[in-house]
Symmetry: C2
Subunit: 484 residues, 2 copies
């Protein structure tokens, strides 16, 4: 154990968000830096959060017809080249395996940066008849992209964990419905599990996934005013179907090209989660994702030790019985203050304090992690009461994030106004946009903000008649923001 003075968070979320984030990740025991730059070690408390994200999404995927599969870690260079040939703009930086044992390989193998180029040929092979469609495959795996940027755990790492879904459908309607089903499931994850309000939108055409017809996105706003692309769902049209020959015989034995989709969510979701809710005391977690939802801390003197600990243990057992994830912290060598700090650092959503007064009065004192709100409640019916309080903690986290978001979507009608508003406040700025990528340039060059989304509905009227940058007719509403 390091010295106790080093246990707490020393950086300020408001004044040094980058350092604060790195400190929370390490001191809350979520991850450590690996010896190779760009890689991290995900520790049990971090991995447990990822497992709960997985379990929620995976259940919804399976309920809606998705099957998990596993494709190879490596992709032959010729397969990646084929994708480059057919998909303009696809040129990922990858890690290359050149030797196996002591021998040089005849063909280099890429460590998968994404798996379209190996999955699509197999989908083509498995798709014969319209009865084979829709085909919905997903894999949970790690991918590697050799980008030389500063490491930020869960946000920017060369290796990251994600799921990638790949589906094929008989027609555009089926594929578009699939695209939206997954986008909605990602939005649900953010709302119901992660206590974060998501924005749903489309990426502008110049920022689509290479080869996609439409890239839809979930954007979430961080407290520092930057947006995070928090999940993505692509309608790929027939471009991959044509390139990889994913065709099927319809009911009349006519050959048709399948429409495909792909969609993914990575552990960047965890990064956004940590950054949104946590504070200068450490990690804050929504109850649905917390490894321990409740910690029961008995506070005793020598003369009442047994009865206080027994009472606390009995209460913890009752919560456990009711499927609350609860820990009884009856460590002898730590005082209550130390325990409070440690569990706050670790993000336990609810603390239950049991002292001699609680025992005497048949009560329990509940303390909410996000805001320290304290309430003394009856011991009777404690499981229901605690469940209600956990719901309240979730609601508080959501409301707080929603409040941040609501104030942070502003409008602008000129280039200067966009620059000034984002420069001063951060957040999103909505404006009319002609649809030309060139009109993004001056904003990007000046303050590194870009068009992070446009409305999902293509027919939605732009908020202003003119493009805020060039003054031509506006075609859409653009959302400018700085972005992680």
């Amino acid at each position: 154990m390091s010295g106790e003075q080093e246990l707490g968070i020393t950086e300020s979320k408001e004044h040094s968000p980058g350092e604060w984030y790195a400190e929370v990740v390490q001191k809350a025991g979520l991850a450590d830096y690996a010896p190779m730059g760009g890689f991290i070690v995900t520790r049990p408390r971090g991995y447990a959060i990822w497992e709960r994200i997985q379990n929620n999404l995976d259940g919804w995927f399976k309920d809606t017809g998705v099957q998990n599969a596993y494709f190879p870690l490596f992709i032959p260079e010729s397969y990646l080249e084929k994708e480059k040939d057919v998909v303009e703009g696809f040129d990922p930086e990858v890690a290359w395996v050149t030797h196996g044992g002591h021998n040089e390989l005849e063909e280099r193998l890429a460590v998968r940066p994404t798996s379209e180029s190996i999955i699509a040929p197999f989908m083509a092979q498995w798709t014969r008849s319209h009865r084979d469609l829709p085909m919905r495959l997903n894999q949970w795996c790690s991918v590697v992209r050799w980008e030389a940027t500063e490491t930020k755990p869960f946000f920017r790492t060369k290796e990251f964990l994600w799921q990638e879904g790949h589906t094929a459908h008989a027609d555009e309607d089926g594929a578009w419905e699939e695209t939206m089903t997954r986008l909605d499931q990602y939005a649900r994850l953010y709302e119901e599990v992660m206590a974060m309000p998501p924005l749903k939108g489309r990426k502008p055409p110049h920022d689509k996934f290479p080869g996609a017809h439409t890239t839809t996105t979930i954007e979430t706003l961080m407290p520092d005013g930057k947006t995070v692309q928090a999940a993505t769902s692509h309608y790929l049209g027939t471009s991959f179907g044509e390139a990889f020959d994913i065709t099927y015989a319809d009911a009349d034995e006519e050959e048709n090209t399948a429409h495909t989709t792909s969609w993914g969510l990575s552990w960047r979701a965890m990064g956004a989660l940590i950054m949104t809710h946590s504070d200068d005391q450490g990690l804050v977690l929504p109850p649905a994702l917390a490894p321990d939802q409740v910690v029961v801390v008995p506070i005793w003197q020598e003369d009442n030790k047994d009865e206080v600990i027994d009472y606390a243990a009995d209460l913890a057992a009752e919560l456990d019985e009711a499927d609350v994830r609860v820990e009884l912290d009856d460590r002898e060598h730590r005082n209550p203050g130390f325990k409070y700090n440690e569990h706050e650092l670790h993000g336990v959503p609810l603390r239950v304090e049991i002292g001699p007064h609680e025992v005497e009065d048949g009560e329990a004192t509940l303390v909410h992690r996000p805001d320290g709100e304290t309430e003394t409640v009856d011991r009777d019916g404690i499981a229901d009461t605690v469940t209600d309080h956990l719901d309240t903690v979730h609601a508080k986290l959501y409301a707080s994030a929603e409040e941040t978001l609501e104030g942070e979507i502003r409008e602008a009608e000129s280039r200067e106004e966009i620059l000034g508003t984002i420069g001063q406040h951060g957040g999103y700025v909505k404006c009319g946009w002609c649809g030309d990528e060139d009109c993004e340039e001056p904003i990007k060059d000046a303050i590194a903000a870009e068009i992070v989304m446009v409305p999902l509905d293509r027919d939605e009227e732009p908020i202003h008649e003119d493009c805020a940058i060039c003054g031509e007719d506006a075609e859409e509403t653009a959302y400018f923001a700085k972005s992680y």
Copy 2:
């Protein structure tokens, strides 16, 4: 869809077990061969089996104090070299990443062949006090070993899926108990989930995991008389603790070296499963692992179609309600015979046939996949009846595998007898053994059989007084067998 004549299994399990195995894996939709030799694509029906193996083991691991984590896919060459320095005999053939993007790396990175060398340094960092112990970490991941052997899906592939557990303990007792806890959980998996009788034993000293004090093993016998090392659990003593400086301060603030263990099970378990139970009609699965446990097949004529299908659908819904994994196969374009063959190929443990007679009499006809046993039962209480029959199917599979095993453990008292017995029957041959690796050589050279295990209990008296090979005093009982 390929031509229907190609749907069924054409190879014979008895006469061409290798070809038969490959055909079952492909035609039952478990896996396909990837474009790179040594790699496979695990299809949904195969991956679903692996997920159920994972879920069972992972639940038991967590119930007994194990936490999941995730360590990097890559290990720097210098880390592997360090393990080679400290662990004699450790020299895995690995896949080397030499380039990231367009640049050559300063240090080559190995794609993890196993993770001791990256996990141990972090365990050292996280282990300060006796209160940090026991530390039990596990990861589910893929590993790559560049062995140039013929590909056999799930048995021999360059990349394979597994779990690797790594734990540290204050003393030998704790670490040894851990080693046995995991071995027992693997044995439980084979017995209760996979319907296979496991043998528990130790590897002979010359076949231990490099650096291990004791390597324990689960061996399972295949129908062709060869054994499979089906899981392994190592007590590592203090060798890794010393090499990687995994030390802790005890209650008296004295520094001590931790005792460590590691243990793993790979998708080779799936290979052993497929090979044990399946037959010339295709895959056979125990109900605990089958993606679909029951298929309900309605058999109708035009004049009774609606009532037969309604009755079947209602029955399927009742099974679903009772958490039986059930599929209703009411496809119009396939006849019942085709459906029977297909579901037998896919290994659905129980078929429920519903024809007009069953509807009229308020009954259902159940057919067991392993042996075709057929019973007509009351429609009332169908969920309980089906659950009982699924238990019976499991018991039949287990009994059949146990019967094979029991006849296949023979004794021998001389080199000639060992060679003759294994040559004629396969299976295991028990004999007295002096403990010298040299006495394994003549058997290995002659028929490629080796000592696959010795009894777990070191104090067990050898079955014969003399070593069957050299005639010196026997120290242990050796189990010779050919091995996958």
